[in-house]
Assembly symmetry: C2
DNA sequence: GAACTATAGTGTACAAACGACACTTTGTCA
DNA sequence: TGACAAAGTGTCGTTTGTACACTATAGTTC
């Protein structure tokens, strides 16, 4: 059943850059294409926007369908719309970036995408279309964002140690941080709830566990607080 | 001549929030709609994206055609795509924000839009569609941006005094700034070229004129310099 | 159970940036 | 020439950033 319009319309898609942290590596979720163009090449998960869903909903649906991923954080990144970004047709794509908690994700069970895989961002292959550019933009955004907003907790388990959190920041920012200064700063923000619990099964002194406290975050946000790191 | 596709496609438009500074007021350019829906209501300039132009080009073209405006700065803001934002059809719009130099713009000659007007942002009317939301987002972006990037010079004449620049920042940020601290900071950034020229035709001591120096800006940008204000 | 090992956890001192604050200078106009 | 209007300028106390090294603790090994 064809659809007819008075004026030509570009095709509208969403593509999502999904980040996760895995043992000190920042990883990105990619899908191997099954058809031309760029058959066999890796690409960002994504697809067409339906008429009965918003862009955000479309991004979430694609992730669910195409990669079986449940996102912890999703935000619109940028819309890419140069004329020649797809060789077949004029395609405009609204790119999103998402964060997922890999530690609760490893099985990757309910995915109909056996052709999905996590790549370390540092050595991801060359991607289809202009997806390299999109990935680069997403990485820049993540690095910028992490400095002034407590994004990033989404990438960790619910309960975590300060050392884990520091490693996370070091991985994203690609530089080492000073332990004492990091703790001073992050604790002064008063975003973390100190738990009465410590790490288990480690072969050395166990560290205290913390949890991100959304209530405190909201309170501070309302006051126009600045979370620069 | 109709255009037919296998799957339904949303309509894709660009809308632009154009800011200018005029005597201490931050102004925004609006267009009065000539047809339903929202006939007679004010709206952001914008229109359909053509298949042979990029999104950026579309934004620029619409401004030229619809408002006869030459922009000094243009950047993509956000893409709005909820299902019901246009009562007629599914319309997704890529919003831009633009800065123009009003002092070189007053005549607004070559515009085929006699129904265009500048409104102080503070008392703009309720807009058509979800354009109020878009305007709000653009204002937030401008206020955030001005703090860490030397955007804003675009809103002034080529040669300006430090007092003019301070007033500009005060207008955008909606709060007063300390004269000595402002000068210290802005001059330390080493972005401005001090000219051998002073103001003319003022009824008091004339101020020195400065000019934004894009070369210095580029040099500092390459060094990863931070322009926080 | 003593020694070892690996990581947790903690404080200080110096430097830089920020923010508050008031008077003198200069040119115009009446 | 005196009044006015805006230009232009410096200091000091506070806060923030940053560099840096040792002690405490739990588990493992011998």
């Amino acid at each position: 059943m064809p659809f007819t319009y008075e004026y030509p319309r570009p095709c509208l898609t969403v593509d999502v850059v999904v980040f996760g942290i895995d043992e000190g590596d920042l990883k990105v979720l990619l899908i191997q294409r099954g058809q031309a163009p760029f058959e066999g090449r890796w690409a960002l998960p994504g697809g067409f926007v339906r008429l009965d869903e918003s862009l955000d909903q479309g991004a979430e649906r694609e992730l669910r369908e195409e990669a079986g991923v449940k996102v912890a954080y999703l935000e619109q990144l940028y819309t890419f719309g140069t004329v020649d970004r797809d060789p077949r047709d004029r395609v405009v794509t609204v790119a999103y970036f998402a964060l997922v908690n890999l530690s609760e994700h490893r099985p990757q069970a309910a995915s109909d995408a056996r052709n999905a895989a996590w790549f370390a961002v540092a050595d991801a292959p060359t991607l289809a279309f202009d997806h390299d550019k999109i990935l680069e933009a997403a990485l820049a955004r993540l690095q910028a964002k992490v400095r002034y907003q407590p994004v990033g907790f989404e990438l960790l388990p619910e309960k975590f140690t300060l050392t884990q959190l520091q490693k996370l920041y070091e991985t994203i920012l690609e530089r080492p941080l000073d332990k004492r200064n990091f703790r001073k700063k992050i604790l002064k923000m008063d975003l973390l709830k100190e738990l009465d619990e410590i790490e288990k099964d480690v072969a050395h002194r166990a560290a205290r566990l913390y949890r991100f406290d959304p209530k405190r975050y909201e309170r501070l946000t309302r006051k126009g607080f600045n979370f620069e790191l």
